[in-house]
Each structure stands twice: as structure tokens, then as C-alpha cells.
């Protein structure tokens, strides 16, 4: 999908990393998101498929299916169901996450615009969501590459967040730090810049603070919930 005038979607996708202000000003003017969205989805899916065999193997680790087998469901059948569920889950997350996340971000930015009584077309905000999601996809690509070179039993330890510096893998701090990913922060900043471009603000500070505040609430909830849930295991 080439832009009629100006830069191509591919150029914009790259410029989001190098000169996000300019890129989002152009995206705000021509909010075409399909090509970029599909590209990000394909990249996400491709790298997910690369780690699929390992992921399937990991899903069976540490589970003694004979313990759960019944007359109606043999251990082999349970194993097959678990593997299939893990595969479907991985693929669904890879395919849907760029679109769902962009939708959520667009909705939040729409609310932010409404609070500030600014005009912000939803389509433009959704395009911002798609392009701003690129760092998260980059993070997923790096993570999946690391997983490809990691022993199966350790793939749950591959984590591109500040949790890699946590002393233990339990507790509120660990789960809170798990939400502290620099790639997420990067995307949050890009979404703020994009929102400012759509709302024609001179500086993105307001939108960035708004998004970071929401993220902080989300991260605290994740920390508390993870800590609560881990008490049962």
C-alpha cells in the first residue's frame, strides 16, 4: 500500500524508530494502517512459528499426564490436547496482539482526546496504535530469537523486562518488574508522540504521561495479581 504522496508505509515503519515525530505527523495526515499492521502481524507470526516446536515441548514439561488420565481420556490424548492448546494459544496471541493492542490504545487515546476536548479521528489513532506497536514486535522478535537458542526447560526465563534483574521468580516485585519492559515503554512513548501528532499538540508530554499513568496502574495490578496467584502454586 503505497502512499499516494509522501513516504511509503515501509519507510514510515522504519522512520517510527529513527524519527518518530516526523513519521507520526505523516501517519496522522494519512492514517493508512493495513499494510503496516499486516506486516507486523506476519513478522510476529513468523517468529512465533519458529519457536513453536520448542513451545510445544515446553508445554508438556513437568506434567505427568497419567495422573490426570481417565477412562474417557487417555494420557496420550491429554498430551495431544495440551500441545494443540499451547500451539493455538501462541499463534492466536501472535496474530491478534498487534490489532487488539492497537484497538485498546486507540480507545484510550480517544478518551484522552475527549477529556482534552481535542479532535482526534479514531482511524488516525488506530494507525498510531499500529505503528507505535513496532517496538513491541521488535522485542518479541528478539525474545523469540533468544528462545531459539535456549534450552527448552529455560524458555520461561527468557524475559525482556526488568524482571531479568529480579533475585527470585516470585513475589510482587518480580511480577511488577515483568511488566516493566523497555520495549513497552518505547511503544508508550511512540503512542504518546503519535497522539500528539493526531491532536496537533506541540509536545507529546501530556499524552505520554497519560499512557504511562495507565501503564503504571496496569503494572501494579499485574504485580499484585501475580503475587496472589503464585500463592496457590
Amino acid at each position: 500500500m503505497e502512499e499516494e504522496k509522501g513516504k511509503s508505509w515501509a519507510a514510515l515503519l522504519l522512520e517510527v524508530f529513527t524519527s518518530p515525530g516526523n513519521a507520526f505527523r505523516e501517519i496522522a495526515e494519512r492514517p493508512h494502517f493495513w499494510a503496516a499492521g499486516i506486516t507486523l502481524t506476519i513478522i510476529n507470526l513468523a517468529f512465533a512459528l519458529l519457536i513453536l516446536p520448542k513451545w510445544q515441548e515446553f508445554s508438556l514439561m513437568g506434567v505427568d499426564f497419567t495422573e490426570y488420565a481417565t477412562e474417557q481420556m487417555s494420557a496420550d490424548a491429554l498430551e495431544a490436547i495440551t500441545q494443540t492448546s499451547a500451539s493455538v494459544g501462541l499463534i492466536l496471541v501472535a496474530v491478534l496482539s498487534p490489532w487488539v493492542m492497537s484497538l485498546i490504545i486507540a480507545l484510550l487515546l480517544k478518551i484522552y482526546a475527549a477529556i482534552r476536548a481535542k479532535e482526534a479521528p479514531f482511524g488516525s489513532l488506530f494507525a498510531v496504535g499500529i505503528y507505535g506497536y513496532a517496538p513491541v514486535v521488535l522485542g518479541a522478535v528478539i525474545k523469540n530469537i533468544i528462545i531459539m537458542f535456549t534450552a527448552v526447560e529455560n524458555i520461561d526465563k527468557v524475559n525482556l523486562s526488568l524482571a531479568v534483574f529480579a533475585p527470585t521468580q516470585t513475589g510482587f516485585l518480580y511480577y511488577f518488574l515483568s511488566a516493566c519492559s523497555p520495549f513497552t515503554w518505547w511503544s508508550l512513548i511512540l503512542w504518546g508522540i503519535g497522539a500528539a501528532a493526531v491532536m496537533k499538540d506541540k509536545k507529546p508530554t501530556g499524552a505520554v504521561i497519560f499512557l504511562f499513568a495507565l501503564w503504571l496502574i496496569f503494572a501494579l495490578i499485574i504485580g499484585a495479581f501475580g503475587n496472589w496467584a503464585s500463592a496457590f502454586y
Partner: protein, 402 residues
């Protein structure tokens, strides 16, 4: 400038996170485990239950009459009684009248039999006389016949002699008929029947006297003097209160491991400061059906007690059966034990590594297992180690059972 520094810091953070993730994922897998220390502690395995104090040797005395009768008590609860002592009386005036009547009947029957026997004796004497007379008449006839052949007697004498024989024969026949008519066997049967009736009436009168079947103490009286009691209804319990036992009711889960000879402690709310020692003497061979108002089945365990002075028959008591008496043992939480057929193992933590050790275990209660051999005190064992492999690196988190 600030923007450049921010970008630089951001990139540095990303690089740091990536490096951290690579290092962490390539490091040896470390599993977080909960552990507990093997400790030498007091170990015991006991079963708690409730039971009832019962007298070992006791008898319920009831009315054996066939009809309801008025009761008169001769003892009170707590009285010492001897075997055969009358402890209550039932009103048997009706039975006494029946006895009197039966005795009269017997008397009459005996008299009739005596008269008949006397008459028989007289007939026997008359029969002898008649036989004698017949023999004489026949001798006379033979003598007359001889005289006629000699010509010394005539036909007249022969006819007279023949008539004398016929008369003697007639007399004998008559007496024999009388003797046959005087058969005393019927009268003897009547006497026997009358005697049996007397015995039955006397027995009924005797049953009015309720006697203690054993030496002992009147433990319980369940009827009042003056009341009419039904046949078969227990009236008085006599027993030996110095010989008590406790009957405990154990659930099917708790009976496991309970054996004859195990020590028992009995406590009664009526004497809470006293602990009565006892011993399991018998375990019921069947599971008893639930009692009225209850849903759980139970198994009766009989406990002999050393000194029951502090207890009272019928009391509900708390029973502690020691499957294992308190003793010092090396213990680990049950969650640390892995059973693989006959072999039992634990994982111990040795310099951050899980090490599988075969152990010999003793008894287990609901929390702990005794370790007889395999590990020493203060060894740290991994709890719920199902997914741990021998030689696995582990990191300790939290504490286990204390």
C-alpha cells in the same frame, strides 16, 4: 542534548535487558523449592475417640413370668447382693391359687390310686382263694370218680362233685374279671399329670421371687415398686463395678494401625484431673452400623482399664489410643517422602543441588514420617519434590513444615 541522553539511556536499558535475558536463559536451570529440616523431635501416633464405660461382668435381670405382674423391690441401687438373694418380688397370688388347686388335684389323684391298689390286693387274695377252692373241688371230683369205679360212690356224689368244680370255676372267673377291671395305670397317669401341674404352679410361684444371678452390686434399677412389669423387661442390673472396661467407637479411617495390647489413656469429665491407663484388649471383627441419628459406621474397640475407681459405669469418656507412644525420633514432613514401590526416598539439598537419598522409614502420622536410616538431623529435605531430578540445581524459597 537531553533527547540524545534519553535515547542513549533507553538503548542502554534495552541492551542490558537483552544481555540479562540471554545470561539468565543460558544459565543452568535452577528450580525454586520449599524445604524443611529433618529434626529429632518427640514423635507420637495416636487416635482420639470417645467411648463408654461398661461393667465387664453384669447381668440384666428381667421378669420371667408369662403375664404382667406387680413389682416389689427388695434392694436399692448400690446394694451389695449375693448370688441367689431375692432382689425383687412379683405378685404371684394367682399363681399361688393355681398351686393350691393343683396340689388338691394331686392329693385326690393319689388317694384314688391308693384305693385302687388296695382293692387290687384284696382281689389278688380272693383270686388265690378261688384257685385254691377250684383245686380242692377238682381233687374232690377225682376222688369221687375213683370211688365210683370201686363202686363205693354213686352218680349223686359225682354230680355234686362236678357242680362244686363248676361253682369254684365260676367264682375264679368272676374274680379274674374283677382284677382285669381294676387296672391302676390310668390312675397313675392322672397322678403324674397332677404332679406335673403342681410342679408348674410351684415354679410359677417361685418365679415371683427375682434372685440375683451373681454376687455383685445393684448397678441400676429401671422399674419402680408397685408398677406392673411386662415379661422379659429388664428390671435390675447387677454387676461387679470393680471390673470395668471402656468401649471406644473408632471410624474406619482411624482403625488402621490399632492393635491389641496398645496403650490407652482414658479421661472422664467427671474426674478431669485423673488419667486412667488401659490397654486395647479386643477389636470387634465387624463394622457396626450407624447408630440412630448418626450416619457414620464405627468399629468397637474394647479397652481394659487398670483401675476404674475414677470412672463410673455408663460414663462417656475421651480415649487416646497410642499407636506409637511419645518418643524421640528423626522426623521429616510427609510431603518430603517419595514412594516407589517398597523403596522410599527423599531429596536433600547439598550445596544448592538436589540429591536423591534412599531412606528407611518408621511410623508415620498425619504430619511426619520417622526416618530410621538414610539422613541425619538438620539435613534439609525438599518438600513435594515430584518434579525434581537428581542433581538438579535448586534455590530455596520460604519454609516448609516446622
Amino acid at each position: 542534548m537531553k533527547k540524545k541522553i534519553a535515547v542513549f539511556l533507553g538503548l542502554a536499558l534495552i541492551v542490558a535487558v537483552i544481555i540479562g535475558a540471554v545470561i539468565k536463559s543460558s544459565s543452568e536451570s535452577v528450580v525454586e523449592v520449599k524445604t524443611a529440616e529433618a529434626k529429632t523431635m518427640e514423635y507420637e501416633d495416636k487416635v482420639l475417640a470417645t467411648g463408654t464405660v461398661e461393667v465387664v461382668d453384669s447381668v440384666d435381670v428381667a421378669s420371667t413370668l408369662t403375664l404382667p405382674a406387680k413389682l416389689t423391690l427388695k434392694v436399692e441401687e448400690g446394694d451389695q447382693v449375693k448370688q441367689g438373694q431375692v432382689i425383687a418380688e412379683l405378685d404371684v397370688s394367682e399363681q399361688k391359687q393355681q398351686l393350691k388347686s393343683a396340689e388338691d388335684n394331686l392329693d385326690a389323684a393319689e388317694k384314688a390310686l391308693a384305693n385302687a391298689k388296695k382293692a387290687n390286693q384284696e382281689i389278688a387274695a380272693a383270686k388265690k382263694d378261688a384257685e385254691k377252692n377250684l383245686a380242692l373241688a377238682q381233687q374232690e371230683l377225682e376222688a369221687v370218680k375213683a370211688l365210683i369205679q370201686e363202686g363205693k360212690a354213686g352218680q349223686q356224689e359225682l354230680i355234686e362233685a362236678q357242680q362244686a368244680v363248676a361253682a369254684a370255676q365260676q367264682a375264679k372267673n368272676t374274680i379274674e374279671m374283677q382284677a382285669k377291671a381294676m387296672d391302676t395305670s390310668t390312675l397313675e397317669l392322672q397322678v403324674e399329670q397332677a404332679r406335673a401341674a403342681v410342679d408348674a404352679a410351684r415354679s410359677a410361684v417361685e418365679k415371683g421371687k427375682i434372685k440375683s444371678p451373681i454376687d455383685g452390686v445393684v448397678l441400676q434399677i429401671t422399674a419402680k415398686s408397685g408398677s406392673y412389669v411386662q415379661p422379659g423387661m429388664p428390671l435390675i442390673t447387677v454387676g461387679k463395678p470393680e471390673q470395668l472396661q471402656v468401649v471406644a467407637k473408632l471410624s474406619e479411617q482411624d482403625i488402621n494401625g490399632v492393635k491389641v495390647g496398645q496403650e490407652v489413656e482414658v479421661r472422664w469429665a467427671g474426674a478431669p484431673e485423673q488419667v486412667v491407663k488401659g490397654e486395647v484388649s479386643r477389636i470387634a471383627p465387624v463394622v457396626s452400623a450407624p447408630e440412630i441419628g448418626q450416619t457414620e459406621t464405627h468399629i468397637k474397640v474394647y479397652i481394659t482399664i487398670d483401675d476404674g475407681a475414677a470412672l463410673k459405669p455408663g460414663a462417656t469418656v475421651d480415649v487416646v489410643i497410642y499407636r506409637v507412644k511419645p518418643r524421640q525420633s528423626l522426623l521429616v514432613p510427609n510431603e518430603a517422602i517419595i514412594e516407589d514401590g517398597e523403596t522410599k526416598t527423599v531429596f536433600v539439598v547439598d550445596n544448592g543441588t538436589a540429591k536423591k537419598v534412599t531412606v528407611q522409614t518408621g511410623h508415620s502420622n498425619e504430619l511426619y514420617t520417622e526416618i530410621n536410616e538414610g539422613i541425619k538431623a538438620n539435613t534439609r529435605v525438599i518438600l513435594e519434590p515430584k518434579e525434581i531430578k537428581d542433581g538438579q540445581k535448586v534455590r530455596l524459597t520460604g519454609g516448609g513444615a516446622q
